[in-house]
């Protein structure tokens, strides 16, 4: 019998993952036999320079892209080989997304954006979910902004609405792609603190792709990628340690 993802205490994992773009000698190998798991309840940062394969890894883990070879699981569900509809419904119900920019639907107000995953599922949030959303809105300081449309919100507020949307369904895993990339440093710190507290206080599993050492220093665990492979796997580190590691990797390359 196969060991399941949850037996391993993981929220998501990939095995022998390879992704190549193009064919033959001209092909680019974005991921090269990567096997890794994202631990349940942890805030994991995935770091690496551009072209290291960190975004590709996240796309595949989150069910946004298909690998060339290898397998991927979200919870105990193997997602490699799922059809487009099953995959979409899985993302809707079990994955949360926070992007660098353009996170919100401009025609919907903040509350409309937060409730969108439920509405796409054709249902109203249950009483329990409603309570969860209310407490999220409270914690994220969005109570007075719910009727505002995205263009009436600051970048930091928009990102907090995106966090509320990503956490609202209590997903197996939240993926954040450079969530502070478009923010000033203060709003960026706020967003990172909110993500860290969601994982620490509420047991939310979060995977964050970033190339910012300060952002990664908020995480419980830091994975380093280079040339399509995992080059290091460290527990919580300071921004200085992370920056030093990145610099060393760049000098070595």
């Amino acid at each position: 019998m196969e060991i399941t993802t949850s037996d391993l205490g993981l929220a998501a994992r990939v095995q022998h993952l390879t992704k190549t773009y193009g064919a033959g000698a001209a092909g680019v190998r974005a991921l090269d036999d990567v096997s890794v798991g994202i631990r349940r309840g942890q805030f994991t940062a995935i770091m690496g320079p551009s072209g290291s394969g960190k975004s590709t890894l996240m796309h595949i883990m989150a069910g946004l892209d298909a690998p060339t070879e290898g397998r991927a699981w979200i919870g105990d569900t193997e997602i490699t080989g799922l059809g487009d509809v099953e995959m979409t419904i899985l993302r809707r119900r079990r994955v949360g997304f926070i992007f660098q920019a353009f996170n919100l639907v401009p025609t919907l107000d903040a509350l409309g954006n937060i409730l969108l995953p439920f509405e796409l599922d054709g249902r109203q949030p249950t009483a329990l979910e409603r309570a969860r959303i209310d407490s999220l809105v409270e914690r994220l300081g969005l109570a007075s902004r719910l009727a505002h449309r995205p263009h009436e919100l600051s970048g930091g507020q928009q990102q907090r609405v995106a966090i509320a949307r990503a956490l609202a369904t209590a997903p197996d895993l939240v993926f954040a792609d450079e969530p502070t990339g478009n923010l000033d440093s203060r709003s960026g710190r706020e967003v990172l603190a909110l993500l860290a507290s969601a994982s620490r206080d509420h047991g939310q599993s979060i995977a964050m792709v970033t190339h910012d050492a300060i952002a990664a220093s908020h995480a419980d665990r830091v994975l380093f990628l280079g040339d399509g492979r995992i080059t290091a796997d460290h527990p919580k580190q300071s921004a200085e340690q992370i920056a030093a590691h990145m610099l060393a990797a760049e000098v070595a390359a």
Partner: protein
């Protein structure tokens, strides 16, 4: 000053791959198509008018029947004007949509020193070229069709038209008209260029919605005056019609004024109609998103809808007017007319409907264009929706509902206006006609709505909607969820 010159030289629209490479930009083709359609339609109608005139003159029995020629000419002018108006609105829409897509580039050029006016002049110049190309294509194809028609007419029907030639100088009116209106439409559609600020080049700005027309009532004063004057004339026509059939002439101008006013002021009254129709779709996520999208650029959606409104209203008007006239004549004669009596009237109505349908085709091209560019410009948003869990079936339904939204709102408005105008036409013409039993004037006539033409209109707009949505839905479902993450 030299900076400006340099900037315009390096602007991509005039760069390396030929001066006209901007013509390949999405939406330009549609503008060429609609101006060509309008020009060809105009050319053909001019030819038909001239041909009928020639036939009548050559006929020894009818001789110089000036009246018929004049009536045909007035109708032709009206029909061509409607087609040109719809084409111009499609073009204005296309240009304002294209500019929305070019915002970043315009902002960058503004940032490094180009003036807003020079940027707008560039866009307007492109409109002129588009109009010119369309007009020339329309001229060639229109004259070609006319020549073919004359050949067929002579060989099949054996109708001689004396020394008729397809090279009528009159064809220059619609051709020049289309070139100029396209130019004007591009100028109107490019107003948005002036609102682009250099800051928008720096990115991170989130799209604003509902900003196009909010609080711009002042702009529509002229249109509102036209509507008021038109409505007064319509009422006067109806009252006058109780005394003399000439009431219809007064009502005609009332109709012309009020409809022009309504068309110009469409951004004022179409959004509420659109909003109302949006509520009919229910509260589901796809329905709500579709409803919001149709109202995202109220000015564009309204202009688009009014093209369909015009077609539907004109067809309904002819149908209702004719049916009301028939009903009254039945009353007058105790229903002793044989069916044959109405045949020429029905034939006339059918011809008018087919001719009006040309404008509907132009409106349909515009709808396809509006939806398609809308999808292309929303790729990241569609990617976001896909990422957070919208299935491609839901995407397809959303885009289709957007099209349905506009056509349903337009068809309803068109039917209401058409019934009103048709009834006013019949009433003002026949209110004074004596009827049985005691030959008193008819007084108030009830509007008679012929259900077959109405059913045809509804089915036709339904087909139009589905056809218009094919390309945009295909494009929309092709957007991959990863596109939400694209840096730009």
């Amino acid at each position: 000053m030299s900076a400006v010159a340099t900037v315009s030289r390096i602007s991509p629209a005039r760069s390396s791959s030929g001066r006209l490479h901007w013509l390949r930009e999405r939406g330009m083709g549609a503008s060429v198509l609609v101006s060509a359609l309008a020009a060809a339609f105009g050319v053909i109608l001019v030819e038909v008018t001239a041909y009928i005139g020639a036939v009548l003159q050559a006929d020894p029995f009818i001789g110089d029947s000036e009246t018929l020629a004049v009536v045909v000419m007035i109708l032709s002018v009206l029909l061509v004007a409607v087609a040109m108006y719809v084409a111009a609105m499609v073009t204005a829409n296309t240009f304002s949509t294209i500019i929305a897509g070019r915002t970043r580039r315009i902002a960058l050029l503004r940032l490094i020193g180009a003036s807003a006016r020079s940027q707008r002049a560039e866009v307007t110049g492109q409109g002129f070229v588009v109009g010119l190309i369309g007009a020339v294509i329309g001229l060639a194809s229109g004259v070609g069709f006319a020549a073919l028609g004359v050949l067929i007419g002579e060989s099949l029907l054996g109708v001689g038209a004396g020394d008729f030639t397809v090279l009528q100088p009159g064809v220059l009116f619609p051709v020049v008209g289309v070139a100029l209106t396209t130019w004007l439409a591009a100028w109107i559609g490019s107003r948005r260029v002036l609102t682009v600020t250099p800051l928008q080049a720096l990115g991170g700005s989130v799209e604003r919605t509902h900003d196009d027309e909010a609080g711009r009532r002042g702009k529509h004063v002229g249109a509102l005056v036209l509507i008021v004057v038109g409505v007064v004339l319509l009422a006067a026509g109806v009252v006058l019609g109780l005394i003399t059939p000439l009431g219809v002439v007064v009502a005609f101008f009332g109709g012309l004024f009020s409809f022009t006013g309504l068309a110009t002021a469409s951004p004022l009254f179409m959004p509420p109609v659109l909003r109302l129709v949006g509520r009919l779709f229910g509260r589901g996520a796809t329905a709500r998103l579709a409803a919001e999208n149709a109202l995202r650029h109220p000015e564009r959606s309204s202009r688009m809808a009014i093209g369909v409104v015009m077609g539907v209203a004109l067809v309904t008007m002819f149908a209702v007017a004719l049916e009301s006239v028939k009903a009254l004549m039945m009353r007058q004669s105790e229903g002793e007319f044989v069916d044959g009596f109405f045949a020429p009237m029905d034939a006339f109505a059918s011809i008018m409907m087919v001719l009006v349908a040309v404008s509907a085709v132009i409106a349909a091209v515009g709808l396809v264009n509006l939806l398609t560019i809308g999808v292309v410009q929303r790729r990241r948003e569609l990617g976001l929706l896909r990422a957070i869990g919208m299935t491609s079936t839901q995407v397809r339904r959303m885009v289709l509902l957007e099209a349905v939204h506009i056509t349903v709102a337009a068809t309803l408005t068109g039917l209401v206006l058409g019934v009103a105008y048709g009834w006013i036409a019949a009433q003002s013409l026949l209110g004074s006609v004596p009827v049985l039993p005691d030959y008193d004037p008819a007084g108030l006539v009830y509007p008679a709505v012929p259900w077959i033409p109405v059913a045809v209109i509804v089915v036709a707009t339904a087909v139009l909607t589905v056809v218009a949505a094919v390309t945009p839905t295909r494009l929309a479902t092709r957007v991959a969820p990863v596109e939400a993450l694209a840096a730009d």
